[in-house]
């Protein structure tokens, strides 16, 4: 086992996470954590749909912000994908997507205030960066030959429409619809910083202890995401896109003097504003580094390391739930079955239920945004790193388990392959470990970005210091810290890409959520 670079790296990551466990604060500080959890479960079992007058408004706004934000992001991302060969465009996109949508929202809040534009841009901007990268990769993967054989002078737009775009279209559509699901989660979470979406109502329901309302909001949100495929149809999407901008609500008007003040005063480092010159700036930056950035970076790294490994363990433990190699009857196909028939194999009724429950569990896990989950756990357990670690592991573990499980369904086992735990340990996990690691490294950057943002909830990662700086109306400090967070994300992304390349882990554009 020590001979394999993959195994050595994995064990190294686990050892590092165990070290981090020793440092991290993982205590439960709430007085009666299980009592609170019990109340939440009761709220989920007996939701009170009538409790919120604005329940439907919350859903409508959540949908509207998601559609407008993702729509704008996809359009801009597509146009950028066409010029993605430019180094400048690539760098701008990498930078824009390294900053979390909640940070963007906090920035836009400073000058647009509670205007819908804040929420729309907070989604559209980072999403455009992601769309540009993934769309460019998808277009890159199409067959270049049809384009080459076209007659000279066919025109750029005609060439694109008839060849690459045509070929890539189904992939572009499926990726965009996947991102719409992410957009719904982002939109819901924007409520926590004041947008009129689901998170806003959830926060106030929690604050008032209305767990039945919390239950209703959560269940409606799951229903919305689970039924996405039923109501997002190709012919209806244009209708939604036209209607959505009118459903954003009016918010508060933009005060344009705030916009100019933001750029001319707020974000100018205070030593420069007070004429203390370069030496003042150096001292000021040093102060931020020592008192805020370094502790923030340290906690972000520690927390995300634990969360990353826990995510991996959870994904490895749960992928069999959605794999046809485990929860499927041995019944009639036994040892004489032809490999081809085994694929179509009959499911034993009892197993259909486990199959359904397994899928259901993973759907719930991956459709709950980390931020929302961390918020709930924090209410239940009190402030420490524990809620953040568990939230990150549940959400990301659910996503990776789902993708690995789906991947496992492409594996063909010989008819007499062993069953149960031996099948798991000898037949499937070794085959799926490469794709699993590729996915995990892909999500590393996302876990890091989320870890930083969870600081807004009071955990001392980078987001905590950003949020405090903003509370103290020191936007210059906040901007420096946001920049540092972005650089940290870009650094992790580069490291992950390097590791993927070294271990020769193949990745596909479509698995990056």
């Amino acid at each position: 086992m020590w001979h394999s670079a993959t195994a050595r790296l994995s064990l190294g990551f686990v050892a590092l996470a165990i070290l981090c466990l020793g440092i991290a604060d993982l205590s439960i500080t709430a007085h009666a954590p299980w009592h609170e959890l019990g109340r939440l479960v009761q709220g989920l079992v007996q939701p009170d749909v009538s409790a919120v007058d604005h329940l439907w408004v919350a859903l409508l706004r959540t949908l509207a912000f998601a559609f407008v934000g993702v729509g704008l992001g996809a359009t801009a991302g597509f146009l950028l994908a066409l010029i993605f060969h430019s180094r400048l465009v690539r760098s701008i996109c990498a930078f824009v997507r390294a900053i979390h949508e909640l940070f963007w929202a906090l920035i836009f809040l400073q000058f647009f205030g509670l205007h819908p534009l804040t929420g729309v841009l907070a989604i559209a901007l980072p999403y455009a960066g992601v769309f540009a990268k993934v769309f460019a990769e998808i277009l890159e993967e199409t067959d270049p030959l049809p384009e080459q054989v076209l007659p000279a002078g066919s025109g750029r737009l005609s060439t694109l429409a008839f060849t690459r775009l045509r070929e890539a279209w189904p992939h572009l559509v499926s990726y965009t619809s996947y991102r719409l699901e992410c957009g719904l989660r982002s939109s819901a979470v924007l409520g926590f910083v004041g947008m009129p979406t689901l998170g806003f109502y959830l926060e106030s329901a929690f604050a008032q202890g209305h767990y039945d309302t919390v239950g209703a909001l959560l269940l409606l949100f799951y229903a919305l995401i689970a039924s996405l495929r039923l109501w997002v149809r190709p012919l209806l999407v244009p209708v939604y896109l036209v209607v959505a901008p009118f459903c954003l609500g009016s918010g508060l008007p933009i005060v344009w003097s705030n916009v100019s003040r933001f750029f001319s005063e707020d974000i100018v480092p205070s030593p420069l504003r007070h004429g203390e010159g370069l030496s003042g700036l150096v001292g000021w930056l040093g102060d931020i580094m020592i008192s805020e950035a370094l502790p923030g970076i340290w906690h972000t790294l520690v927390l995300s390391q634990i969360a990353l490994v826990l995510t991996g363990l959870l994904a490895l433990a749960l992928y069999p739930l959605v794999s046809r190699h485990f929860f499927q009857g041995r019944g009639w196909h036994g040892r004489w079955a032809v490999a081809g028939r085994q694929q179509a194999g009959a499911r034993v009724p009892g197993n259909r239920l486990t199959h359904l429950l397994g899928h259901g569990l993973l759907v719930v896990m991956r459709s709950t945004p980390e931020y929302l989950l961390a918020f709930i756990l924090l209410q239940l357990w009190g402030p420490s790193m524990l809620p953040a670690v568990v939230a990150l592991a549940i959400h990301n573990g659910g996503i990776i388990a789902h993708l690995v499980g789906r991947r496992s369904n492409e594996v063909r086992l010989r008819p007499d392959a062993p069953h149960g735990l031996v099948r798991y340990a000898y037949e499937l996990t070794p085959r799926l470990y490469g794709p699993f690691l590729a996915l995990l490294f892909y999500r590393w950057e996302i876990i890091m970005r989320e870890t930083a943002i969870l600081g807004i909830l009071g955990i001392t990662t980078l987001g905590f210091y950003v949020d405090s700086a903003i509370q103290e109306i020191r936007f210059d400090r906040a901007m420096v810290l946001i920049l540092i967070t972005a650089l940290l994300n870009i650094g992790v992304d580069v490291l992950a890409r390097h590791l993927r390349a070294r271990l020769r882990l193949r990745h596909t554009a479509n698995c990056e959520p």
Partner: protein, 217 residues
Amino acid sequence: MSTLALTDAVADYGQQRVLGPLNLTLQRGERVALVGKSGAGKSSLLAVMYQQWRGRGAALMPQELGLVPSLSVFHNVYMGALATHPTWYNLVTLAKPFRRDVAAIQPLLARLAIDDKCWAMAGELSGGQRQRVAAARAIHQGGEVLLADEPVSALDGPQSEALMVELTQAYPTAVLAMHDVELALRFTDRVIGIADGGIALDAPSARLTAQDLLPLY
């Protein structure tokens, strides 16, 4: 434009030289067969020719055909004429073809016996059918010189002859890479034999027999 010429043409694959340097002149009206064993450099020579002459009305029918699988046969053939229409016209055609283009393309497909597949997706066709679609695109494109790489390799006897007639009539000049030596001698008037990335033989077809070409293989 009466002659097409290559001077000191070369092709590299990575670090390795796979073709040339070689010199070649084509007279307008010539039909040239490129023969030689696989890997000798026929496809590389065609690629170099296409690169040099694309702007002078050359059309390429590569061995991999270059069809768009998710487009209909009609659209794949129409693509040969993208350069002769304005962009808006092309985009409208993608959604709804104009009657006059259908009227132009249908008879061509009928001559190649694939008119019943006009609205089928190119990706759903058999190898022989797809080869005829690529040929139809090249014919629809028209121009000065056709460069085709094994244009009839997936077709049987009578079909391949019919297609050879269509292809050689559609262009004043043609260069066809062929592995069927008999067919090559019958439909061309000049044979260029390629070996080890160079020209090993260049003679009028009328003076050659299949036996003469054997040393090339």
